[in-house]
Symmetry: C2
Subunit: 249 residues, 2 copies
């Protein structure tokens, strides 16, 4: 009963004493990124994107539900923190990368955040004024490439998580773009989703394709929570397989 | 009792039958803008700003509380719609202006939204790609001036509201910038608030200065709801004075 109470307090379903297999990620550390990034133009304005964070937050919750210790690095969202998850809040891509690197080592990293590809070269320290007549030339926004968080986490090295999962949100040519991203980033899996029309942002449901080295799985349209559960179960199975392979003589 | 029930349903305090002065804005139409605008770069990315919409939404609620019919034109916010207020949701500055013009005529307009001064000249129809190597030159964002909603509503003409109120959010030289804005825009009042440090965005409290043709009033630091109530009462008094002046022989 005490275990149940603790489990409930942590936001997990109580663990049936007879079935530890319900917590297959026990002892694992999962790193999840979620939400948009905000790249400041000046103290008031920023470049953002339409990610609601719902899918990433649901993945963090699903991994915790399977027993993982979860660090969720989140850009600015209007979602409550998932229960039983350690949340680190950031704004920019650079801050998100730094928070991810601080959270390592991890057994699995799921990069669900919609990270800005570019930041502003020199954010203005004070609000940019339109000028007295309003007819002045608009300011020129000089963009600079942001660090690539997925590629950085997926790069070979002693701190690389055993499993690195990226997302590809595309408005056109979804699978070709996602396959190219899979090869380019060095990650193990890509979850590709079609954001054409904008309906997926903040929506309940998602239609995704899982790209692995073995091929492409088309998942049916599901609630974002169901996508998260299915992904978490696949992650648990894969980490168990990797451990079994390591342990084999 | 029926009146009370209707008033409660509309989200207002019940009207004491003996004191119609509690609804001093009865029969008036108030137009309020609130929140940020989002100017699309492509279907996924946008330029936004850090307005939470809390002050503007509170003003809409306060005007409704005094009996006004209120149209609230709101950019993307994560706030509930205020009760008893008609809410029109928009994203860009151009959409906000069109919604405001559709809502006219109005007795008072309060422009509390943080409207982007610039939009993107040619938003991309599909998500802009970083390119295969990630080393390509970043895209150039060509900005174009947005319509000036406050100046448009404040311009002389048969549909100009009797009272037009603007906001000035500044990070530096608050009062000089606000005074220049007051003169430039042709509005009757400016509520100036200091956003240096960013603490005001989404915060509970606000420190504002009311600039009118008679001078500058420094209001004490108050909850945003208290700022809204005080402004709504000033508006009610001023509209009553204007009506009395018109009615005078």
């Amino acid at each position: 009963v005490l275990v149940d109470a603790i489990a409930t307090a942590l936001g997990r379903e109580p663990l049936p004493a007879s079935d530890a297999a319900q917590w297959p990620l026990s002892g694992r550390h999962a790193l999840v990124t979620s939400g948009p990034t905000h790249e400041p133009i000046d103290p008031v304005r920023y470049i953002g994107n339409r990610s609601s964070g719902r899918q990433g937050h649901a993945i963090a919750a699903a991994l915790a539900h399977l027993g993982a210790r979860v660090t969720l690095v989140s850009g600015p969202v209007s979602l409550p923190d998932p229960r039983g998850v350690q949340v680190v809040k950031v704004a920019t891509a650079r801050e998100m990368l730094a928070a991810c690197q601080s959270a390592l080592p991890a057994d699995v990293a799921v990069c669900a955040a919609a990270v800005a590809d570019w930041g502003i070269a020199n954010p203005a320290p004070a609000k940019i004024k339109k000028g007295p007549s309003g007819d002045e030339a608009p300011p020129v926004l000089s963009l600079v490439p942001n660090p690539d968080i997925l590629a950085t986490l997926a790069a070979p090295g002693p701190r690389r998580p055993a499993l690195v999962v990226g997302f590809a949100a595309e408005t056109d040519a979804l699978l070709p773009h996602a396959r190219a991203k899979h090869q380019r980033k060095g990650c193990d899996w890509i979850l590709a989703n079609d954001v054409a029309g904008g309906g997926v942002f903040g929506a309940d449901k998602n239609t995704v394709h899982l790209l692995t080295s073995s091929g492409t799985e088309d998942w049916p349209t599901m609630d974002k929570e169901a996508v998260a559960s299915r992904l978490a179960e696949r992650i648990a199975q894969t980490l168990a397989d990797l451990s079994a392979r390591k342990a084999a003589p």
